[in-house]
């Protein structure tokens, strides 16, 4: 990771992320199938993202690096991945409200789809599962 062009030479890398990489490297050394190790690594990255340890953009950057994207394309690939990911979570939030029969105004669409904060979208989706009206999505968030 410290070798990546946009990576802060290791000193700012969260310890949990380093532990995840160490674990994956150890698993490979123990000859655990690479596909299994890769799957666990990606799940671990997502868990760290959902817990706010690493931002979505960093997760996308690591995914790009580990999935063989050439160096010149890593930035664009990571940006596209993060954009698609946020879009899916915005859509999922509305989808869950729809399936639960919770009405919401059209004014929710724009801020949701333009939201660049994946952590916020994660909380919105979680709240959509139990919300009884649109306003419950933003309870506890500063406006």
């Amino acid at each position: 990771l410290a070798d990546q062009p946009d990576s802060p030479q290791g000193q700012d890398v969260p310890s949990e992320l380093l532990d995840l990489f160490r674990f994956a490297t150890t698993c490979l050394a123990l000859r655990i199938p690479a596909l299994k190790v890769a799957g666990d690594l990606l799940s671990g990255l997502e868990e760290l993202r959902q817990r706010g340890v690493i931002p979505l953009e960093e997760m996308a950057q690591i995914r790009a690096t580990t999935s063989g994207v050439t160096e010149e394309h890593i930035g664009r690939w990571a940006a596209g991945f993060a954009e698609g990911y946020r879009s899916a979570w915005a859509a999922a939030t509305l989808h869950v409200l729809d399936t639960r029969g919770i009405e919401y105004s059209k004014h929710l669409f724009r801020p949701l789809y333009l939201c660049g904060d994946a952590g916020l979208l994660t909380r919105f989706l979680g709240r959509a599962v139990t919300a009884s009206h649109e306003g419950d999505l933003v309870v506890g968030e500063s406006s």
């Binding site: 799940s43 690939w77 596209g80 991945f81 954009e83 698609g84 899916a88 399936t99 979680g126």
Partner: protein, 80 residues
Amino acid sequence: MSFVSYFPGRGTVRETAYLEGEAKGEAKGVLRVLEVRGLAISDEVRSRITACTDLDRLNDWLDRAGTVESAEELFTETEV
């Protein structure tokens, strides 16, 4: 007759990554809904959802993730 789009950006690195991010994001969204509902998610279920890249199927799972009584139940009706 097939439809061919010449829209700028189609097939680019960014678009390809966007579609992959969309599928991965939706898969994780399905898992998130199951988790928030407190349902147990086995490694097998997690792998199966995470590996899916079919947006229609993921949409169907997302539809039902809010009402199924177990995570495994997601797969029963789509395998008819």
